[in-house]
């Protein structure tokens, strides 16, 4: 194993992990949390451990990560926008009440229509 594969390549490898080089900016920036999470959670070798925790089974985590990592705009463009109406995620506690009210109104409307055949 050679000491440093980066010697002579002109690539600066700092001890602090991957650095970002913006083609426009001069100085390196640390890789962001998203860069790390999308790699350690979504990539890397999956071999069966003894502690069975399938990251994809953790619904809450998956939802949070999708919100963080997947581009929200891109997802909306292709029609994945379920979280916008998910009462748990939007914190829309009123939603069940509104749905109930909606059902009741429909019921009354149906009753009115049934009771007034002349219209």
């Amino acid at each position: 194993m050679s000491a440093d594969p980066w010697a002579g390549t002109g690539v600066v490898r700092s001890g602090g992990g991957p650095q970002a080089y913006s083609a426009a900016a001069a100085g390196p920036q640390p890789g962001n949390l998203g860069d790390i999470l999308e790699r350690v959670l979504d990539k890397g070798l999956v071999i069966a451990g003894d502690i069975r925790v399938n990251l994809l089974d953790i619904e809450l985590l998956t939802i949070k990560l999708r919100l963080i990592i997947a581009s929200v705009d891109t997802a909306r463009e292709i029609g994945i926008n379920w979280w916008e109406t998910d009462p748990w995620l939007t914190g829309d506690r009123d939603r069940p009440r509104l749905e109930q009210e909606n059902r009741e109104l429909r019921h009354r409307l149906a009753a009115l229509e049934a009771g007034d055949p002349s219209d």
Binding site: M1, W6, P18, A20, Y21, G31, G34, L37, A70
Partner: protein, 254 residues
């Protein structure tokens, strides 16, 4: 009485002397050590089952602060390993060393091939952002058109300009990816990251890709990325070198 423990795995490497890991500590603090079998080495550390058992782990994974600290610790160990390494996904945990050693022996051929694939290569991340565009100029007014018709015309003009810009972005992303893929041993596309995460809310991310690049080509690859940014007058960001997370085994991944 000792607390029940488990073994957290970071990565698989070729034969590795334990003293090369001196001073390295892993998730939750304890030192990183090695488990060797079948000519392979796994970098591991001991974790408490009270914290990393199935049930507590599930709960903790929901805690984003804990997840961030753990993800960073996991990554830092993998990044610090000397020589080629196959990173393990976060939260790969074994009952004991023997269980992991058995797995190394059982999958020896596959893991050795995986290590050959990433030897003297590293993963580089490239993110391409859309250029900031000037606001769309209004369509020329036509004499005699009423306000309603003028509005519709203006709106139609804006929409077709947006559609053209979107198509131009897609073409640009494809060109950049094709050129960089040509310099890499392998490539992987990822979903674009959310603006909240990149800290760049003004410009959309057009490309979020990972390339497995020969160490000897890395400087040329970095120069090509810079040149693409200049040529297309757009922001393009290079991160790396990363451990080969996206190329953990030949032929894996989408």
């Amino acid at each position: 009485m000792t607390e029940p423990h488990a073994v957290w795995g970071y990565a698989v490497t070729a034969r590795l002397s334990p003293d090369r890991l001196a001073g390295l500590s892993g998730v939750a603090g304890p030192p990183v050590r090695t488990v060797a079998a079948a000519g392979l080495t796994a970098a591991v550390s001991t974790v408490s089952l009270a914290e990393f058992g199935e049930q507590p782990l599930r709960r903790r994974l929901e805690d984003l602060a804990w997840l961030e600290a753990t993800a960073r610790a996991h990554h830092q160990v993998i990044d610090a390993l000397p020589g080629p390494a196959i990173p393990l996904r976060l939260a790969t945990i074994y009952r004991d060393d023997a269980s992991l050693a058995g797995l190394l022996a059982q999958r020896q051929a596959e893991l050795a091939a995986g290590l050959r694939q990433v030897t003297e290569r590293a993963e580089w991340g490239v993110k391409l952002f859309a250029a900031e565009r000037p606001a769309v100029a209004d369509a020329p007014e036509r004499a005699g058109a009423g306000p309603g018709l003028s509005y519709l015309r203006r709106r139609g003009h804006q929409l077709s300009a947006a559609e053209q810009a979107r198509q131009a972005d897609a073409v640009l992303a494809e060109q950049v990816h094709a050129e960089l893929r040509g310099m890499a041993a392998a490539a992987q596309l990822r979903p674009a990251q959310a603006a909240e995460l990149t800290g760049e809310p003004r410009t959309a991310m057009l490309l979020n890709a990972a390339y497995l690049v020969d160490d000897g080509t890395a400087a040329r690859f970095a120069a090509a990325v810079r040149e693409l940014g200049r040529r297309h007058r757009t922001r393009i960001e290079l991160t790396g070198p990363w451990p080969p997370y996206s190329f953990a085994l030949p032929g894996t991944g989408p």
